[in-house]
């Protein structure tokens, strides 16, 4: 592929993704004809009213949950199962309580059969980068929320994913901690030489979405479908309390309300 073509061809392509759940015998449509693309080195946020299926959409992208209709195309290929080039960070951290920090971080490497010494080395390296040094043998119950999410982040990044998916990653954290972690994620993504290349984040915090993303995708009320896409063309580093930022926030919020 030529460079121009590479730049134009999206890394991730969603075409008419639909999903419905069966609840007490009735079929409830959650997502309907969701289509959008994600290109190289983009930071995307998906926002929408609660219950619009954005978390489900993220899981469909990851390959955790199958869609009923439509396709998820990653680098030209249909995705049918869990995509090993993607990693996910969870709102509730989802750490295994009986494993310490190193073991939790190593989990993805262990699952792929990487030998013990190697994965220990990689895990320790990323632990150091994630600011978790000193806590290698700590158990999740000994960690604060912010530290736990750092472990979640380290766990997601140790497998060198191309795409990082985040499901409301900061909503369980207090505002002060959340700010610090946001900056870290931004820093990690900005560096073009480290993974991840692409970040797709689901959030209900529109300010956060606008501050961090290149593009914000707005889903409608259930059944969720793409209502609008906003190109956040503000230069980085962005002003957290800038007027232009708030203009975007207002526009998006009025759509959701």
């Amino acid at each position: 592929m030529s460079i121009e073509a590479q730049l134009v061809t999206p890394i991730l392509d969603l075409k008419n993704v639909s999903k419905e759940f069966t609840y007490r015998g009735r079929k409830v449509p959650i997502l309907k004809d969701v289509s959008f693309s994600v290109h190289e080195h983009e930071f995307i946020s998906i926002v929408g009213p609660s219950g619009c299926g954005k978390s489900t959409l993220l899981r469909i992208i990851m390959g955790l949950v199958p869609q009923d209709k439509g396709e998820v195309i990653y680098k030209g290929e249909r995705i049918q199962s869990v995509n090993p080039h993607m990693s996910m960070v969870f709102q509730s951290f989802a750490l295994l309580p009986w494993l310490n920090v190193v073991e939790n971080v190593e989990l993805g490497l262990e699952a792929h059969g990487i030998p013990k010494e190697q994965r220990r080395k990689r895990a320790l390296k990323i632990i150091q980068e994630a600011g978790l040094e000193g806590f290698e043998d700590a158990y999740p119950r000994e960690l604060s929320g912010g530290m736990k999410q750092r472990v979640g982040l380290a766990r997601a990044l140790v497998t060198d994913p191309e795409i990082l998916l985040m499901d409301e990653p900061f909503s369980s954290l207090d505002p002060l901690t959340a700010e610090g972690l946001r900056e870290e994620v931004l820093k990690l993504w900005s560096d073009r030489f480290t993974s991840p290349d692409i970040v797709i984040m689901v959030t209900h915090n529109v300010e956060e979405a606008v501050y961090l993303s290149d593009r914000v995708i707005v889903l409608s009320r259930r059944p969720g479908t793409v209502m609008a896409e906003f190109d956040i063309d503000l230069l980085r580093p962005r002003e957290k309390r800038g007027q232009e930022l708030y203009e975007f926030v207002d526009k998006i919020t009025s759509l959701i309300a």
Binding site: S87, F90, A94, L96, A111, E142, L143
Partner: protein, 573 residues
């Protein structure tokens, strides 16, 4: 390190030979043989427990993971759970004993099999329930990182079930001790097989009206159970603590005491306190390490086995083929040798007046038994509910009372006979009271332990919410406490009734001082069929009647309640 493990294994295998040394025709009723009898029973229980663990984990994982298998496996489990231990006698006698030509080895296998059936069902249910309720996000996270197959079992499933295994293991052992008598004296009419053990010892003393030896035997039993509690269950509980999901806020450490110090030890020896503390903590630590070592050994061995899929497949096929052929062989033996007896027993049932009468009395016997069970159930709920709430709220009470409860739960009904005997002789309708009391002993502990477990597992943050709102006691009970424990109440009731049904056989038919005391009930009928007449057909008819009744009650009452309760009240993380 491995040399030590090897040595331990050798010693353990030598222990297995002890029962043979003491294989005699009659139980020696002297205090000295008590030690070896207790040891023999311990070994049988241990082997049965290990088998139960393996079965429970395998069955539970398959039922929890494969939806199709679940549809068949769980109902089967339901049925098996309701079969009273006596119902397995025919299988025990005609399969195991016949397979080994009536030698002591066959009898031992039969006994271990019977103990297995009294231990395994609650373990299996616990594994199945726990695996079905792993928090969704943790399961999703593991999946998203590609964790599947053996890694998933090792890293996710097994750690998740360890607390339940320990807690239910305690209950299983209590059940094992409770039915030891039935397992060590296998009787089918004319044929009686007695194994040397503390169960048969207690039964013999009761039968001979030998109060002295009965009390000594009881003392030995209680001491053994206490020792096991201190040296096995305490360390295991400390070890299992780290596998619990902890949703209490992260600044406060978990309110659980990490190394529960045995108040018993502290009470017994006051000085020097620091030394005893260090000693008991050391013991707890050593045994925890031993268990995690053994656990890791098992896991690694199991893992190496499973890793190679071809080997696993060959291995499992081999096991299935062996079991199948053993079963077929036993069946053939049964038909050839016992077939005539079988048909004869059926004929006898309807030809002889007495036996025909017995068959006809099955419905009324069932009704009476259900009534007794219901009365015992009401009494049980009446005392276990308040006690469970009180005990779970206070760590002090919990640490001091739990070992007592566990000990009491394990005391077989036989041990209560002397006391019951006094009751029966004195009062009018004494036998009815006696049987209800005895049923109670088989029922109440399931309720108590489940309720305690339920109260203890109310997440700390829900309790904190209650405190912040300064809820009045009545409101707290109505809105938070009772709804939180409804699931445990239902589970406890289901298993409690299961225990009650099983207890019928030792409650409605009592042999003491050479005489037989019985009331009309399905348990008594079963005992008469097994011990009195040796009529296999009658055994099967009674068991069949019981199973159908239990099944109907399960479906109509318990499952429905459970669905309502789980749907509305289960705490979703």
């Amino acid at each position: 390190m491995s040399k030590i493990k090897f040595l331990i294994l050798i010693c353990l295998s030598f222990l297995l030979l002890i029962p043979t040394v003491y294989a005699q025709d009659e139980i020696a009723l002297n205090p000295f043989s008590i030690f070896f009898y207790t040891l023999s029973s311990l070994i049988r229980l241990l082997i049965a427990f290990l088998l139960s663990l393996t079965f429970a984990i395998t069955y539970g994982i398959i039922a929890a993971r494969k939806a199709r298998a679940e549809k068949i496996l769980i109902p089967i489990l339901d049925i098996l759970q309701s079969v009273p231990i006596l119902g397995f006698f025919p299988a025990a006698v005609f399969f195991f004993i016949a397979l080994f030509g009536g030698s002591w080895l066959g009898v031992e296998f039969a006994a271990i099999f019977l103990i297995f059936t009294s231990m395994v069902w609650n373990l299996t249910f616990a594994v199945y329930e726990q695996l079905s309720s792993i928090p969704k996000d943790i399961e999703e996270a593991s999946e998203s990182f590609g964790v599947k197959g053996w890694t998933k079992i090792r890293r996710l499933y097994i750690p998740a079930i360890i607390p339940k295994l320990v807690y239910n293991g305690i209950m299983s052992w209590a059940g094992g001790w409770y039915f030891l008598v039935a397992a060590e004296i296998i009787s089918l009419g004319s044929k009686t097989y007695i194994l040397p053990g503390i169960g048969s010892f207690l039964a013999s003393s009761a039968y001979k009206g030998d109060f002295g030896n009965a009390f000594l035997g009881l003392g030995a039993l209680i001491t053994t159970i206490l020792l096991i509690d201190i040296f096995v269950w305490r360390p295991l509980e400390a070890y299992a603590n780290r596998f619990k999901y902890d949703y209490v806020s992260t600044i406060e450490p978990s309110k659980e005491v990490v190394f529960p110090r045995s108040r018993m030890i502290n009470f017994l020896v006051r000085y020097p306190r620091p030394l005893i503390h260090r000693l008991s903590s050391k013991i707890v630590t050593i045994f925890s390490n031993v268990f995690s070592m053994v656990g890791n050994l098992f896991a690694r061995a199991y893992g190496k086995l499973i890793k190679n899929i071809v080997v696993t497949k060959i291995f499992s096929y081999l096991i299935i083929i062996t079991l199948f052929s053993a079963f077929a062989y036993g069946l053939i033996l049964l038909i050839l040798e016992q077939g005539a007896l079988f048909i004869e027993s059926f004929r006898l049932l309807f030809v002889k007046y007495e036996t025909a009468q017995l068959v006809l009395s099955i419905p009324s016997a069932l009704l009476l038994s259900i009534t007794r069970l219901f009365i015992a159930y009401l009494i049980a709920v009446g005392w276990t509910l308040p006690v469970a709430i009180k005990v779970s709220k206070s760590p002090r009470l919990f640490n001091s009372l739990m070992p007592i409860f566990q000990t009491l739960a394990a005391i077989p009904a036989v041990a209560f006979f002397p006391f019951i005997f006094v009751l029966m002789v004195g009062l009018p309708y004494g036998q009815e009271f006696a049987s209800i009391l005895l049923i109670l002993t088989g029922m109440q502990w399931y309720l108590l332990f489940n309720l305690i477990g339920g109260v203890k597992s109310i997440p700390g943050d829900i309790d904190e919410v209650a405190k912040t709102f300064n809820l009045r006691r009545v409101v707290y009970w109505k809105r938070i406490l009772l709804p939180s424990i409804y699931p445990s109440l239902v589970t406890g009731s289901i298993t409690g009734w299961g225990g009650g049904w099983n207890a019928l056989i030792v409650s409605e038919y009592i042999t003491f001082g050479g005489k037989i005391y019985s009331v009309l009930g399905i348990g008594a009928l079963l005992d008469i069929a097994a011990y009195g007449l040796g009529n296999v057909a009658l055994i099967l008819l009674c068991v069949f009647a019981m199973i159908i009744t239990i099944f109907i009650i399960n479906r109509l009452v318990w499952r429905r309640l459970y669905r309502i309760v789980v749907g509305r009240y289960r705490i979703e993380y």
